[in-house]
Amino acid sequence: MGLSLVEVNSKQRGASSFDEPFYINMGPQHPSTHGVLRLFLELDGETIINCDPKIGYLHRGVEKLAETLNYNQTIVLSDRLDYIASCANNTAFCLAFEKLFGLQVPRRARILRTIVNEMARISSHLLWLATHALDIGAMTVFLYCFRDREWLLNIFEKICGARLTHSYVRVGGVRQDFTLEIIEDLYKFTEVFPERVLEYETLIDVNRIWLERTKNIAVVSAEEAISLGLTGPVLRGSGVPYDVRKFRPYDAYDEVEFEVPIGKNGDVYDRYRVRMEELRQSNKIIRQCLEKLSETEGEPVLPENAPDLLIPERVREPEPKPHPKKGFIFTGKEVPVVPPGEAFASIESPKGELAVYVVSDGTNKPWRLRIRTPSFVHISALPELAKGHMIADLIAIIGTLDVVLGDSDR
């Protein structure tokens, strides 16, 4: 089906008899497919009989590109995956590389990473709520969410100079420490933010149309959700308390206290509730981390043995003892910077479980870098969820899965 961009499907043309289903091509240019997702729909009236998602319109070959770049350079590629929460992608890449290099991350850097990760989660969830509500038709929520996301992006700009593609997390730690101004800004933000969440909830939570549009739509049972590979808030909406932050803690998540909200029915409404609760929990985590920051004042944010930005292919090993006059004497023996082997790391990105599997052959470039992105898996579940629903529900389902096409196509 759909051989190329130019060709029109032959099935679509010449549908003359009345009992033939109605085909519609939703996307890749459509206001609510969140990017370049293309859905080939088979309709009976407005009911969806079959849905065939076609992805790859944003395929940039990150996995292939990464094989030609050295480890630190791939982090810039990771920004472009889920461009709404780029800090989470940076962290996943760095965690995998650190496991490969055998690096220990300083405590302050771990706390800073946790903060930016949770900020990324809040900003991603705000964008999700904004677009999800807009898709369903509530346009005011959209601008309310963007107001607060703007605030957060300004803080990001102060932290690392970028608003969207941060590249803030580095192998071994983070790029630079927070200034006092940033910490103050974050304190202010965390104080106000819970009220703001309440504000969004008053806008839509008790709205009857919102409830009718979201309750009992796209119900997924717990078993079904696991079989479909759903992760993150979508899985937790079905009542499975699987959260990588709790199950395989990374960074400073074992030091902070937070709850993992879960839903009951596994419908669009429950996932909405889970994400709203996560906004509050993220706020709580940032708050706790800010207090921990004062404990670790002045500690380094990058370990001394962190690799250079441009990792050399091999380094010469110095003699164990420095020569009193000549400094180090190189013995001529070359050792690879990166040990050969493989590493796997996964994090709880705002969209779901983001896993990175890296195979090294001892050079400064990864032999194979595999990225398991939540959006890819979530789009694969779309046909199962959409079957039997109406077009209007499909919009709600795309919204509830929270897909980013940069994330799914890589």
Binding site: M1, G2, L3, S4, L5, V6, I55, G56, H59, G61, E63, K64, L65, T68, I226, S227, L228, G229, V240, Y242, F247, R248, P340, F344, S346, E353, A355, Y357, V359, D361, G362, W367, R368, R370, R372, F376, V377, I379, S380, A381, E384, D409, R410
Partner: protein
């Protein structure tokens, strides 16, 4: 973990090539009889298929691999909070693997991607076609012998047509 290894060794002596403890433990399996081991593991509680991917080991220096390809699975047990990695070597001349779609629906797209990128066919897959690349694409991009930039005559034919049309108009 060790009792799982013991049990595996006992039950599937013929299928297992290597067992390595570590973080996470790695089980290298033969392709034949692979499905039974996965079925057993799923019964043991490894119910979450995190990832499925192919790796091309063409001219891999640090280690001599017997076969060119490997399909790597990451399984996770949500109840026991344990991760394991399965590896199945696939020879280049006989490039196929059993599909996991009967056990996990999510394997569907992972396998399609693996096929798209490495050309590894999956037996028992309901709908094996390209996913990220266009349907009429030639070659498997993530193979090590596939260049990063294609020369002009090997470009995708639709793209070539579009270019020509733009030039003529």
């Amino acid at each position: 973990m060790s009792d799982l290894f013991g049990e595996l060794r006992e039950k599937f002596r013929a299928q297992i090539l290597r067992l390595e403890a570590g973080d996470p433990p790695v089980i290298t399996l033969k392709r034949e009889g692979f499905l039974e081991v996965v079925k057993f593991l799923k019964e043991q509680g490894y119910n979450h298929l995190i990832d499925l991917c192919g790796v091309d080991y063409l001219n891999f220096k640090p280690e001599k691999k017997e076969e060119r390809f490997e399909v790597v699975y990451h399984l996770y047990s949500i109840e026991r909070r344990e991760l394991i990695r399965l590896k199945v070597p696939i020879p280049e001349s006989d490039c196929w693997q059993y599909s996991l779609t009967p056990f996990w629906k999510t394997a569907n797209w992972f396998e399609r991607e693996c096929y798209d990128m490495f050309g590894i066919k999956f037996k028992g897959h309901p709908d094996l076609r390209r996913i990220l690349m266009p349907d009429d694409w030639v070659g498997y991009p993530l193979r090590k012998d596939y260049p990063l930039e294609l020369d002009e005559e090997r470009e995708w034919k639709v793209y070539k047509e579009l270019k020509e049309r733009a030039r003529s108009s």
